[in-house]
Symmetry: C3
Subunit: 309 residues, 3 copies
């Protein structure tokens, strides 16, 4: 049994720990029956102070598929927070009801504060513009499954790279593997922040910035598309001008490698044309499936549960 | 194992398939213990883009009673739809989390679109003013259980027959059985649409229209009451004038047969007086119970699960 | 098997029945494994016509921890109530879906009305300013566990004693035990109502009123803090003047007994300083845990389920 811990940020995990999670996620697929009741009598609380159906359902599906059960809330309006209760108090109380907690909160740092007040493991399911480590784990598992490795590849990241936390986390996580090159595809206004560039440089990684999807397509092994979120823009004009600039369609894909892996954290609006969905290189729904598997592995790890050999 | 299919419209099912569902629903009551864990490790997603507590809880109770588990959302505001995601994308993602999906959507046709994008069976739990096939299955099971047959009877349908989709579906479904007569009881403004009348004629069924509940009561074997929904009226004046015209009370019931079966899809407001609830002919809460049983049978059918003989 | 009953008010239970519930709650802790699947195939419906996350999650955790399952709704907006359905009809329908119902409703008396319309046991999870019996059971279990008895002690109740129903119920419940003295600590405007004073007198209990926490601290065995709810005040001015008058901090605690038990029904806003949380006398999170255990005992009792000896 491992020590009880939390997952707040992807960098809480060593490369070895991530490898271990990926191994368990793969074992879950191969030996599904061995996991069906492994979390019997365990309860997951999903505390979503901010709605995020996809993430919440992924956690819930993960726990149910392990034979455990689920309770919680899907938005703050129906929680005690509306009565002025602190996050710490809510978490400490729910720690009496559940064995593990997955939480999402609009305030950065809320999961850290929460984790200090309970002995129950906390999983950060997103805290404002800050961290979303299970998305990064999902992305890593997807890449590993499609490519068989996490090193030696060229990763293109496209769209809103300034505010997109999933992009920053993925870069940070991939920097720990050998020979990963990054191609950053975005309008000038939405380039990755300076601190991310510094990290790439400090790690000695090769990277470049381009403005158009077409300028990068042919060299990519991975293409990670992101949504241009209207709420991130400073004015409506910029949003309208830019939002369609980075739409992936079959025409743009003609220049791509045959084994390109197209990813997207979802939900998408129109940044990937639906005609791409049937292309074998489209992996974003497979990614959703990977998200369930890696959360299953994570829950088991934090609860200190392993299947018998 | 049957092929994986969906239930979008009641006419997707043949008379034989409906008979089979009714048979399983009855077997569930008779051999309840044999079904208690039959869906262990299976997950139902209830995706309600529009709230409908009764229908949602009926589906959830059905799945839980089969030993399966449930996840989902009860209104669109807390779903990814609020972020601009298409129904197809939501369904395809949830198809990674669940083994079967029951959905309700305000837009007609949404379940058909959804079913084209996932390999997981889709049950239409209501799409706008369009279809609501599990209500019709519920009604058929109720009639079968109370009368022992689905043929040879006179069915009265009362209230808003113009906009009431449950009424149209029930007529369509009952037309497939022998010698069913219909008495349509409604104000002129809310008569059944022409296409329903054409279907009755085409099937060679006997039918008539009357304006007052009293004009039909004595000949009925089934009385199906429906709510006059305020939102269906074009103006408030008409609503106020008509809403109380078709209220069933004990006085009106005096003319009825002793074995009349009174049905209502629920929720009711005041179209059936509460004094009627204790009359042995009141079957609308029994109908709610039938709704759970037929949904259990349907889930088993779509998942291709049968109890061992 | 006991008769099927409901829990509407704490006085529905005799002293012996409360003792029995406490005994089962303790047995649940001591022999946890014996209870893990004891409610398998049983369903709890949590019908919260008014949100109360804490109470709802406590009930749900209780049922899940007994191996049962849970369905329901967390606010009225997503229920049939919004369509004009009566509480009775909702309850009677849900009685077809679940084996036991825990409900919260803003209208006093709603659970009584509900219980008359269904054969399924109803637990009142709070009805307006009226009753909240599972909170009182929680309080009694907490006191019993910390003191080893429910008699022979001095209980201080602090804060809004006028509108605080949990306080009134606790006094009423404790009056049935020997030699319990009450110290009522509140501003003059928020003293306990006359009918509570009459009950204390009728029972021959010793009690007094003081205005300041400091005036009572040293003699207390139990200190029950309550929140001064903004919505209970007639005007904003009074709220601002009084809300900070009854804040418990480490300084005030210096005069207290070493084995004082500090309780609070939660959620708190600022009436107990967070610095008190680490004091061994702080029992309010332990109280949340007791809440789960006593609800487990209650569910078993109402379902007529006992563990095998």
């Amino acid at each position: 049994m491992s020590e009880i811990r939390n997952l707040i940020n992807i960098t809480d995990l060593s490369v070895e720990e991530i490898d271990e999670l990926i191994k368990v996620a793969d074992d879950i697929v191969e030996n599904h029956a061995a996991y069906e009741d492994i979390c019997a009598h365990k309860k997951l609380a999903t505390l979503f102070f901010e709605p995020s159906t996809r993430t919440r359902l992924s956690f819930e599906a993960a726990m149910l598929e392990l034979g455990g059960s689920v309770l919680g809330f899907s938005e703050a309006s129906s929680s005690s927070a509306a009565k002025g209760e602190s996050v710490s108090d809510t978490i400490r109380t729910v720690g009496c009801y559940a064995d593990i907690i997955a939480m999402r909160h609009p305030k950065e740092g809320a999961p850290v504060v929460a984790s200090q007040k309970t002995t129950v493991p906390i999983i950060n399911g997103g805290d404002g513009g800050h961290f979303h480590p299970t998305q990064t784990l999902t992305d890593l598992l997807t890449i590993k499954r499609k490519k068989g490795r996490l090193s030696d590849m060229t990763v293109g990241l496209c769209g809103d790279l300034k505010f997109g936390r999933t992009v920053h986390s993925l870069i940070e996580a991939m920097l720990r593997y050998e020979n990963v090159k990054f191609v950053l595809i975005s309008p000038n206004e939405l380039q990755v922040p300076a601190y991310v560039k510094e990290k790439m440089d400090a790690a000695g990684a090769e990277w470049k910035e381009v403005e158009r999807l077409e300028d990068a397509m042919e060299e990519l092994d991975i293409l990670y598309m992101t949504r241009v979120q209207r709420e991130r823009f400073f004015n409506e004009e910029d949003y309208v001008r830019l939002k369609d600039s980075y739409i992936l369609d079959l025409e743009k894909l003609q220049a791509a490698k045959e084994d390109l892996t197209i990813m997207h954290p979802l939900p998408r609006v129109n940044e990937i044309s639906v005609e791409v969905d049937d292309d074998p290189r489209a992996c974003y729904f497979f990614q959703a499936l990977c998200g369930k598997h890696i959360r299953m592995a994570l829950i088991l790890n934090l609860l200190g549960i392993k299947r018998e050999a």
